[in-house]
């Protein structure tokens, strides 16, 4: 192999910047996408469920039953939108989707309480939505204000949440969002950038010049590393200013970690560009690679809850490791040196995929 030329790599990177400067839509997406996603995820996605629509049937209608209803409402998990005459009616309202919860207090509520004969009351839940199920579970633990069971047990463990005691969703989501957005945009931009040259015929000219595949690859990557940094800085800035996301680790660690991730995930875009023949195919392949990462990386669903096979698969994805790195640095004040277990898989991914992409990218037309 011939020596790489820094001048040629720079020439390609410079040219890529020219393209970006003239392509207002892409340039807009560089800034717009992270802002939009951060706002959407920060405001709209809230796993801390509040104000579920509830219906109530209070057959007891005593001071104790009214107190129980008041306590349930006070949790803010539910709000009463309807009163019904029978449990049957509650079921129908749930089936119709008008309420998510039905609170049924039987006529012998006081007797049951007096005799300490649970269950005292019943909670009908619409568990076709798992989020409702989770919220209702919490509601079922609601203690009852009554002398007979006032001695509510203190529990075996005292819970000490170290990093996000208020359980605010943006604190979990925003750091992870850095990884998710980078995974999408980095892969897409790089894949498109090369496929576009092929589609427009530029590549036929380029491959008759002395330029080497690896030079082309590196040159193409450089501008997108910059873009990646712009994007994560934006996301973090929004996270801190709008959602009070604490940044506990050092920014240096954060940027170095992000850099390693960006470079490794970019190679996936390069690989896609050697497979896809049109920009449309590049889009499709990018989303095909993005979805499993989004679902399995631990961003959307807890990693520990997945089957073993899915966990092994997820360990291959750069996003999985970056989520651990970024949550570690931003939320837990970890240093990069504490996270080497997550860094070497990224480096390995980079080396393997880059080698694959370079091998696949031939300076030929057949």
């Amino acid at each position: 192999m011939r020596l790489l030329s820094g001048a040629r790599i720079l020439a390609i990177a410079k040219k890529e910047f020219f393209h970006l400067r003239r392509d207002h839509l892409t340039a807009g997406m560089v800034v717009g996408l992270p802002i939009m996603m951060t706002l959407l995820f920060g405001y709209a996605i809230n796993q801390d469920v509040r104000n579920l629509n509830a219906g109530v049937v209070d057959e007891a209608n005593t001071s104790a039953s009214r107190a129980l209803i008041a306590d349930a409402v006070a949790t803010q998990v539910m709000r009463i939108v309807s009163r019904a005459g029978s449990p049957r009616e509650l079921e129908q309202m749930i089936a119709a989707g008008r309420i998510s919860l039905g609170l049924y207090i039987p006529s012998d509520f006081e007797e049951r309480l007096a005799q300490s004969r649970p269950p005292f009351a019943q909670l009908l839940i619409d568990d076709s939505d798992p989020i409702v199920l989770g919220a209702a579970r919490g509601l079922a633990q609601l203690p009852i204000r009554q002398q007979a069971i006032k001695k509510d047990s203190p529990g075996t463990f005292e819970l000490r949440a170290l990093y996000n005691p208020e359980r605010r969703s943006p604190v979990f989501i925003v750091p992870g969002l850095c990884g998710v957005i980078l995974t999408l945009t980095m892969v897409l931009f790089t894949a498109i950038a090369i496929v576009r040259e092929r589609e427009r015929g530029n590549l036929e000219l380029l491959i008759t010049t002395p330029v080497q595949p690896l030079e082309l690859m590196i040159g193409k990557i450089i501008p997108y590393v910059f873009i990646g940094y712009i994007q994560i800085s934006l996301i973090l800035l929004l996270g801190v200013s709008l959602f009070d996301v604490p940044v506990r680790g050092t920014m240096l660690d954060f940027y170095v970690g992000a850099g390693i991730f960006v470079i490794s995930t970019l190679t996936l875009g390069l690989l896609i560009s050697t497979i896809a023949e049109t920009q449309f195919q590049a889009f499709q392949l990018t989303f095909m690679s993005f979805l499993p990462q989004l679902l399995l990386s631990g961003f959307m669903f807890p990693f520990e809850g997945m089957p073993r096979a899915a966990q092994y698969l997820a360990e291959l994805f750069p996003l999985t490791h970056f989520l651990r790195i970024v949550r570690g640095i931003v939320l837990r004040d970890a240093t990069l040196s504490m996270l080497t277990n997550e860094i070497w898989p990224l480096v390995l991914f980079f080396v393997v995929v880059m080698a694959l992409a370079t091998a696949r990218f031939r300076k030929r037309l057949d």
Binding site: R2, S5, A7, R8, L10, A11, I12, K14, K15, F18, H19, R22, D23, R200, G201, N202, E204, L205, L206, I207, T208, T209, P210, V211, K363, R364, L365, D366
Partner: protein, 310 residues
């Protein structure tokens, strides 16, 4: 005379299709060598093999003394290749495109500025330097492409149908540039399907369905045409053509404007009288004249002979 390109049994298959079929040719240095042939005859495929972009299925080629199979990369720094389609960046300006190419060819910084200035002036793009390439006219794009691929002063230039999308004046101008470069020692291999362009080449190769069916200088090809050419002028050219084509001594009849060119077997002693008699029998009026073959006749003859063989 030294040789710039030499091929031996150069062959390329695409699946079942034989795009280029055992082509043997020699292109002398410092000449314009033309590839003449209809679309899909294997012109572009041959060029791409010579540039190292396609691997020959069989046979090989040496370009500027380098075997293209052994070391395609060594070839690439010595040649310029102007693709059929405009392949510079439409969203870059004229100057940015040239700058990019100069950097890719690793020209020194001082050389670069100097060469770009020279090329802009030479190809009349001075006042377009800051314009986006995508907004140039067909002729301007052509000039820019040529400026870009000759920036590094290649010894050998491949041009794939360089003038198919430009007006006649730009074509003429374009050929002036080519002659200019050849004068200074560059070798040019150009594909075309314009006869007037083919006639300007020092040497020609006619390709038909991947096979090299004739080659030589245009003069030589016309002089050695194995047929007599009779020009037929008539008001009823269509009927006349049908009648002539029925004669076994007539190889083919091509329409050139309002006249016909009939290619007659060389063993017919007096072709004008022979055809005249045939037309008279059908009571058709026509004036006939024996003419010197032109390149079109050569082309018709070369591509037809093969069709009949099959």
């Amino acid at each position: 005379m030294t040789i710039a390109i030499e091929t031996h049994d150069l062959t390329r298959h695409f699946g079942d299709l034989v795009a280029v079929d055992h082509v043997n040719m020699q292109v002398p240095k410092g000449s314009i060598y033309g590839f003449l042939g209809p679309n899909g005859c294997g012109k572009s495929t041959t060029i791409r093999m010579l540039c190292g972009l396609l691997i020959p299925t069989e046979g090989g080629a040496s370009v500027l003394g380098i075997d293209v199979l052994d070391d395609p990369e060594a070839v690439k720094s010595k040649i310029g290749y102007m693709t059929q389609r405009f392949s510079l960046y439409e969203d870059l300006t004229v100057r940015e495109n040239l700058q990019f190419m100069s950097e890719i060819y690793q020209m020194s910084r001082t050389d670069r500025a100097q060469r770009i200035r020279v090329q802009l002036k030479k190809f009349g793009l001075d006042d377009r330097a800051r314009q986006l390439a995508g907004t140039l006219s067909g002729g301007q794009r052509q000039r820019l492409s040529l400026a870009a691929v000759t920036l590094h002063e290649p010894e050998l230039l491949f041009l794939d149908e360089p003038t198919s999308a430009v007006d006649p004046e730009s074509r003429r101008e374009f050929w002036e540039f080519l002659f200019d470069m050849v004068d200074r020692g560059t070798t040019v291999l150009v594909t075309t399907h314009f006869m007037d362009e083919a006639e300007r080449c020092h040497a020609l190769a006619i390709l038909d369905q991947g096979v090299l069916v004739a080659d030589g200088s245009p003069k030589q090809l016309m002089a050695e045409l194995p047929a007599s050419v009779v020009e037929v002028a008539s008001d009823t050219t269509r009927i006349v053509r049908e009648v002539l084509l029925e004669l076994s001594e007539v190889i083919d009849v091509a329409q050139l404007g309002s006249r016909l060119h009939a290619l007659v077997q060389p063993d017919v002693q007096n072709p004008t009288a022979f055809l005249g008699a045939a037309l008279e029998r059908k009571s058709l009026l026509a004036s006939l004249k024996l003419v010197a073959p032109n390149l079109e006749d050569v082309f018709v003859m070369a591509t037809l002979g093969r069709g009949a063989d099959r």
